[in-house]
């Protein structure tokens, strides 16, 4: 008993200093127009927009980021917080505080965020895009109201353990390295691995929730219940027959080459991606064609 307690104490010891140290922010004038694209690519509204009548927000309601949506998980239920520019949200946060939350998973008061907030993907984004994103969020309506607390089971209810998780899983380096410096693939990688956080759904997880990067994008169980989230590497059952143009068309329009429609949790993702310029969708498609095929 004693031993377990000691082990637990070690596990839960304060680990804030273990988070990678903050680098000074680059000299960059944040651009809210560029930040709007980062917002859609990042899917912030899919989690943070307040549900309307118990259903996911649509249209203009996606810009009301008052939080409140439940995110069920194997560890319990997370309740997504308010990130509107209101004092109940992130109103008054400084730029470094916002970048720390998005790329180090650390709150202004030093608490660790749970990785259900996909900062382990966002850490791979260019910090300038994160700065643009904040400039855009600051233009959205301020929504009052705080979300309820998460209801997680012990030991997940204790945040300090997350520091350990981060040491293993928080890594800004690319998942897939390509030979040469093809700008289209580099762009695609930044979009998919970073703000697009495609791996958070399409890649299976190890115990304790880290992504299994050697099975990158190779399918995962569906957290919403039945079925699987499909393999989108070149070995995927559907996408292996799709050209890069077909993939880009699917992401922009929501239609497969058979003109069947996108379904499940990909619907909201696709609606967001439809706001990106065509050459970004082509870059994503080129990247998906170039990653290792995993059966």
């Amino acid at each position: 008993m004693r031993r377990t307690l000691v082990a637990l104490a070690v596990l839960l010891a304060p680990t804030v200093p273990a988070a990678p140290a903050r680098a000074p922010l680059p000299d960059h004038v944040p651009d809210p127009a560029a930040g709007e694209l980062a917002f859609w690519l990042g899917g912030c509204a899919s989690c943070h927009a307040t549900p309307v009548d118990g259903k996911r927000a649509r249209g203009e309601d996606k810009l009301l980021l008052g939080g409140g949506m439940d995110l069920p998980s194997p560890y319990g239920t997370f309740v997504v917080p308010n990130i509107s520019p209101h004092e109940d949200g992130i109103g008054g946060w400084s730029m470094p505080e916002f970048v720390d939350a998005m790329q180090r998973g650390v709150a202004p008061d030093g608490r660790h965020y749970y990785p259900s907030f996909p900062y382990a993907s966002y850490v791979k984004a260019d910090v300038k895009d994160i700065m643009d994103l904040k400039a855009y969020l600051d233009t959205l309506p301020a929504v009052p109201g705080r979300s309820a607390d998460h209801s997680l089971r012990f030991p997940w209810s204790v945040r300090r353990g997350i520091g350990m998780w981060k040491r293993r899983n928080l890594d800004a380096s690319p998942v897939i390295e390509f030979d040469g410096q093809d700008p289209l693939l580099e762009r695609g990688r930044a979009l998919v691995e970073g703000l697009g956080h495609c791996g958070e759904c399409h890649t299976p997880r190890r115990r304790f929730g880290g992504l299994e990067t050697d099975r990158w994008l190779a399918w995962a169980p569906n957290p919403e219940g039945e079925g699987r989230i499909p393999n989108i590497t070149p070995a995927g059952k559907n996408v292996r027959d799709w050209s890069a143009a077909d993939i880009a068309y699917y992401l922009g329009s929501g239609f497969t080459p058979d003109f069947d429609t996108v379904g499940g949790s990909m619907v909201a993702v696709q609606e967001n991606l439809a706001r990106l310029p065509a050459d970004d969708l082509q870059a994503i498609a080129a990247y998906l064609k170039a990653v290792p095929a995993v059966e």
Binding site: E226, G227, R228, Y249, S253, G254, F255, D258, F259, D260, T261, V262, G263, G264, V267
Partner: protein, 147 residues
């Protein structure tokens, strides 16, 4: 029972099941949606630039959509909520008003495209685009995503 009689009995039974299968709304609506999908491949191929725009073929496909859209609403009686691999979502029965509205949006979009009878792809594009959006509008809520 002689061999003949058995055969007759068997084929009568077979015909009976066939007839039942054909009337089953779960089968009918599935098959009609497959026709809609076939027509969508023609129109979508033109939109996507995979095949040249052909006003006649476009109209024929729109007529298929129109025909199905007029019959589709009657194919969801009580008792056909599940079974036979149906992909119709429970929301159709829980919120018939919303389902009828989604169906109405589709009918309106088709009517607009039929009325325009577009001669060129540029004219057709916004109309077809709007009609394709209504497919998603309905599937999103009223169709279960397959695996």
């Amino acid at each position: 029972m002689g061999f003949r009689k058995v055969l007759v009995a068997v084929s009568a039974a077979a015909i009976a099941t066939l007839a039942v299968a054909d009337d089953d709304p779960r089968h009918v609506r599935h098959e009609l949606m497959e026709d809609v999908g076939d027509a969508a491949r023609v129109l979508g191929g033109m939109l996507k630039g995979e095949r040249p725009y052909d006003a006649e073929a476009a109209m024929a496909s729109l007529k298929t959509w129109e025909d199905v859209s007029m019959r589709f609403g009657d194919l969801f009686p009580e008792g056909s909520e599940s079974g036979e691999g149906t992909e119709a979502a429970p929301a159709i029965w829980e919120d018939r008003g919303g389902f009828n509205a989604a169906l109405g949006d589709w009918q309106d979009a088709i009517a607009a495209a039929v009325a325009a009878d577009a001669a060129t792809l540029d004219e057709a594009k916004p109309l077809l685009g709007a009609a394709f959006q209504t497919c998603k509008g309905c599937h999103d809520t009223y169709r279960i995503a397959d695996e």
